[in-house]
């Protein structure tokens, strides 16, 4: 197993690292059952939930670390790994499936050279799936950082990714 709840000890340094979370924890501390909103806010702040962060939340809310870890891994929304700059959500809802989302998946995994749930080594792209993005009439659909693309063809999906990458690489190449 990759993670172990006891892996990291709370230290002064991890305290200060989680300073931005103090207000949130203070707000929810007295409210029973607020672990999920705290995790949601923490993820909003940090982008993902590294183990030391989970341990910190457990200590502050006086909940068992194992419980926090259990909740964080139960729900699809919580990420224990960092996300790339562009989050590509491929819809695998029923309407998109019927309209050929597997072929889009094949094209995306081939283009990005990663599987669903993974991030490219250059950390530009994270590929993930979603169950219905709510624009079924555009099926098959993918969403990149909140922007929907559809109806997709395998080539169209590849092209979109390439365009984003080119733009990004252009930016990186620019003199500062």
């Amino acid at each position: 197993m990759k993670y172990c709840c006891g892996e990291q000890q709370d230290t002064q340094s991890s305290r200060s690292e989680f300073e931005p979370l103090t207000d949130i924890i203070a707000r929810f501390k007295e409210e029973p059952g607020s672990l999920i909103p705290v995790l949601q806010k923490a993820q909003e702040l940090y982008g993902f939930l590294p183990i030391p962060l989970l341990n910190h939340i457990a200590t502050e809310l006086k909940i068992k670390k194992a419980h926090v870890f259990g909740v964080a891994t139960f729900y699809a929304q919580f990420r224990l790994e960092p996300v790339g700059k562009f989050l590509v959500l491929l819809c695998q809802g029923t309407a998109c499936h019927v309209n050929g989302s597997d072929r889009i998946e094949a094209a995306l995994t081939e283009e990005l050279k990663i599987n669903i749930g993974e991030t490219t080594p250059d950390t530009f792209f994270t590929l993930d799936s979603a169950a219905c993005l709510g624009c079924c009439s555009l099926a098959p659909v993918m969403m990149i950082n909140g922007q929907a693309y559809g109806p997709l063809t395998p080539d169209g999906a590849r092209k979109t990714i390439r365009e984003i990458r080119q733009k990004e690489e252009g930016k990186e190449g620019e003199p500062r």
């Binding site: 059952g33 309209n99 219905c132 009439s137």
Partner: protein, 586 residues
């Protein structure tokens, strides 16, 4: 003149925001005296982005399939010479609305018409009148009205709403809760989202009436975090309602007080199940528990709790205003009122519709939905998502009511309706849904956790051409066991997609098993691609496009696919020009 831009999630995805911003800027820069407002989804998602031009004398012109320039063109035409631009005109309120014929709008009455971020729009369209009316009735009278309406839960199970309200009311403990279930988990359904995005106040009003009837002072809306726009509009609506005295302490000067808060779900299908939803609200993993005790007895923090679906609650204000009998006058003997469906898949006019109970599936698909895309052959309609089933062409005259749909083996469900044509493989669909339920099973009970996994493995094997004799019997045995012994509705209904496809499309399973063929040409492993030598003109397009480099042939020579190396990606079929159509798949 008012311009309304459809800014539901569907409209935004299709480019609605760009149109809104472009028009807004032009109106501002050119100082036209035009109001521009966002509105929710009218249901014609297949025509998004849409705008309405509302002229001063009240006539409404609806335009679809727009982009910013076209939209500006339309506005200028109306502004300068009061002329509609026929090219993009979808409907005019003087004419019968295309696509809205055959529909009856109760829950969706204001969706796509009012500005969902304006409480004045809501009040102007008779909003909060029902709440006012209710405050002069006793809670018992309210429950009787709901009983007379015959309203039953729209979240899937179809349980009589009045019964749940009364059961919660009768509990002796004074602290009670009302929860609105907006966790809409069926992949491919978006009724509740559109309602919340298009008319959030109606759900708040319904909840407040429920709270009054039950005796609750606190309400929670459990909404998926994946619905950011719905959450934003709910937040705005709650604040507005608080400011105007429709929520909060002493509502409209009465002794009745009620608060609503929003809690965001964190992405787990099982949390739509009411006991799992409660566990999630309490900060736990969303695992269901055995019922009884029902939430009405022991719910949120062990206190009596009434849970209703979004659409159920959206019907409530209408029922109070028009009387339970008017609602009961619609529908069939046992299923009253209307139902909202999200039409998607291989349908011409996909979108959101609301129809009276008792309408036939055929009328929905062909009259309202416009029939099958590209006029292909209809094959099946899937109702109820992962808990439901596929209804075949032979049963298209089945009417929409809880009993008739249940008889087919499917369920009414929450309103997802996916249309499938000849190119959809039913074995693959069964595999798709089992993959979903297997993935979403919370793991608490063995039949669901392990049973769905075993069923999925068998289905994956069949789709991969590795099925063995006896697989279909094994599927049926497993299905029976999972249905009868799972802890919650997720497991109890998970086998339905397999059972209905086995019942109506058995020959298709047999073709996969015995002939190792997929008649719908969907299951990759069972396909063979080859090039018809009579048709191939040697254009080399497929040679260039083949990722496995398994197509041989020079320019103007007949190409050949090496079957050993072919990975069945289908690229050759896709690139072969239609004038040749030389790539054949079997």
């Amino acid at each position: 003149m008012i311009i309304r831009v459809g800014l539901g999630s569907c409209g935004i995805a299709a480019g609605g925001n760009e149109i809104y911003n472009y028009l807004h800027k032009n109106i501002h820069d050119k100082q036209w005296s035009i109001d521009i407002e966002p509105t929710g989804c009218i249901g014609m998602c297949y025509l998004e982005p849409l705008i309405d031009v509302v002229l001063d004398h009240g006539v409404i012109y609806t335009y679809g399939n727009l982009n910013p320039e076209k939209a500006l063109d339309i506005v200028e035409h109306h502004l300068l010479n009061q002329n509609p631009l026929q090219d993009y005109l979808v409907a005019c309120s003087n004419e019968a609305n295309q696509g809205l014929e055959g529909q009856v709008r109760v829950a969706l009455q204001r969706c796509g018409i009012i500005n969902p971020e304006s409480i004045d729009d809501y009040i102007y369209s008779q909003g909060y009148l029902a709440l006012e009316q209710v405050l002069s009735l006793t809670p018992e009278q309210v429950i009787v009205e709901i009983k007379n309406s015959g309203l039953s839960g729209r979240g899937g199970a179809g349980f009589p709403t009045w019964f749940k309200w009364e059961a919660t009311r009768e509990e002796k403990i004074p602290v009670k809760y009302v929860i609105c279930n907006a966790d809409e988990g069926d992949p491919g359904a978006f009724m509740d989202r559109s309602l919340l995005e298009g008319d959030p106040h109606t759900v708040l009003e319904g909840m407040t009436i429920a709270a009054y009837a039950i005796g609750a002072a606190e309400g929670i809306i459990y909404v998926r975090a994946e619905y950011p726009l719905a959450i934003k509009r709910l937040e705005i609506a709650i604040e507005q309602a608080n400011n105007r005295g429709f929520l909060g302490t002493n509502i409209l000067g009465s002794p009745f007080s009620f608060q609503i808060i929003i809690k965001q779900g964190a992405g787990a299908f099982v949390c739509g199940e009411e006991t799992a939803l409660i566990a999630s609200l309490e900060g736990e993993r969303g695992m269901p528990r055995l019922k009884p005790p029902f939430p009405s007895q022991k719910g949120y923090w062990g206190l009596p709790t009434n849970i209703n679906n979004v659409e159920t609650l959206a019907n409530v204000p209408w029922i109070i205003r028009h009387g339970g009998e008017s609602f009961a006058a619609m529908g069939t003997d046992k299923s009253k009122g209307t139902k909202v469906f999200a039409l998607a898949g291989k349908i011409k006019r996909g979108g959101l519709i609301e129809v009276p109970m008792g309408i036939s599936l055929r009328d929905i698909i062909y009259d309202i939905g416009g029939g099958i895309k590209e006029d292909k052959q209809f094959k099946a309609v899937q109702l109820g998502g992962p808990s439901g089933g596929c209804i075949p062409a032979a049963l298209l005259d089945t009417v929409v009511d809880y009993e008739s749909i249940k008889k087919t083996g499917a369920i009414m469900g929450s309103g997802g309706m996916i249309i499938m044509d000849e190119s959809t493989c039913m074995v693959d669909i069964a595999r798709y849904f089992l993959h979903f339920t297997q993935d979403e099973s919370c793991g608490k009970c063995v039949p669901c956790r392990i049973g769905t996994k075993r069923m999925l493995e068998i289905l994956e094997n069949i789709c991969a051409g590795k099925g063995t004799p006896g697989d279909l019997d094994r599927l049926e045995t497993l299905a029976a066991g999972i249905k009868s012994s799972s802890l919650c509705g997720l497991g109890q209904s998970a086998p339905n997609p397999v059972l209905t496809t086995l019942k109506y499309f058995r020959p298709e399973y047999e073709a996969h098993l015995e002939d190792k063929k997929c008649p719908a040409h969907q299951c990759k492993a069972l396909l063979t691609y080859f090039i018809d030598p009579k048709r191939c003109k040697g254009c080399t397009l497929c040679v260039k496009k083949c990722p496995a480099q398994c197509i041989s042939g020079q320019v103007k020579e007949v190409h050949v696919i090496d079957q050993e190396k072919c990975i069945k990606c289908g690229n050759c079929l896709e690139v072969c020009p239609t004038k040749f159509n030389a790539v054949v798949v079997d």
